[in-house]
Amino acid sequence: MTSHPVNGLDDVVHQRVRLGILTIAHEAKRVEFGYLRENLELTAGNLSQHLTVLENAGLVGIEKGYEGKRARTWVTLTKAGNTALRDEIAQLKRLIQQVDGRR
């Protein structure tokens, strides 16, 4: 017997904003804090909180630096983040397939 797909979901990844961050970071090699804030329509504080959760879980790497006088924060997806995102998408697809199969 296979476990229910919901059991494979992790709230760290499944949370709407964090899944968005991981998806964007997966598509881009590196993504800047400002791009994430604009495209996910978040406040700087809110985004920082989500990034901290993802960084603590080892799913993203955060690199801070300066470009001229302007502070920049770059986010990259780690190997663990890539795996977590792939697993999350697979579980979501399985969940939908299971529901569709019952109809």
Partner: protein, 240 residues
């Protein structure tokens, strides 16, 4: 407390749909297809005066029996010396420019792109096909050959390994990197123009006789650059 979220089917569909939308949005923001096309169009136009300034150089000859007058017949591959020098340098410079442009855009927009595979593939294709063209000029591209039942002038095979083909192959890599079906279509059109039989339809004894075909190749790239620039303009405006 559990770390398993409460999820229903609607939520799962919504999450997947949003992830797809975000991924597509990122890909659209990363695309700058018009720039490589513009660079290659300019380089192709520039090759016309450079090619004209070069001088023809016999690379290799092959005996083909006897001439009507009784003397021994020979066919030779004549190449323009400027081409060997101009194109390898121009193509490598093009990839450096393209890499620099994408890097500048990444800094400006806060979003990197995976252009490196395209640049590496472009340089590798340039080195590979240029070496093949030099080798083939001495051995293969002389006289006429029968290939799979087709009787062709071997010199025409140069179009399949020359600079235009190099640009075309690298554009396929860019299309893959940018996941752009439109660029695949444009590249197919470009390669058709480069390789199609009407290439040889315009023959001239003028030293500029080669120019119309090269200008046509460049125009296809330029038209593509303008088309992509217009198509990507609203996104640039939004991102700015």
């Amino acid at each position: 407390m559990t770390n398993q979220p409460a999820v229903d089917e609607g939520d799962a569909r919504q999450q997947l749909s949003r992830a797809r939308e975000l991924a597509q949005q990122v890909r659209r923001s990363q695309r700058a297809t018009w720039f490589p096309l513009l660079v290659f169009a300019v380089l192709t136009f520039l090759s016309i005066p450079i090619f004209r300034l070069g001088h023809p150089d016999i690379v290799a000859c092959r005996s083909v029996g006897t001439l009507p007058g009784g003397g021994p017949g020979r066919v030779c591959v004549v190449h323009n010396t400027a081409t060997w020098i101009y194109w390898p340098i121009a193509l490598v410079v093009a990839y450096i420019l393209i890499a620099a442009f994408y890097r500048y855009r990444a800094q400006a927009r806060g979003l990197s792109s995976r252009v490196l595979p395209y640049v590496v593939a472009g340089v590798a294709i340039t080195v590979g096909l240029t070496s093949l063209a030099i080798w083939a000029s001495h051995r293969v591209l002389v006289g006429q050959r029968d290939i799979l039942g087709w009787h062709i002038d071997a010199g025409e095979l140069y179009r399949f390994i020359g600079p235009a083909a190099t640009i075309g192959l690298a554009l396929f890599v860019l299309a893959y990197v940018e996941r752009s079906v439109a660029l695949v279509a444009l590249t197919l059109g470009y390669l058709f123009v480069v390789a199609a039989p009407f290439n040889t339809a315009v023959r001239s004894t003028s030293p500029w006789g080669f120019a119309p075909q090269v200008a046509l190749d460049a125009s296809v790239l330029l038209a593509g650059a303008i088309g992509f620039a217009l198509a990507q303009r609203p996104l640039r405006a939004v991102a700015a």
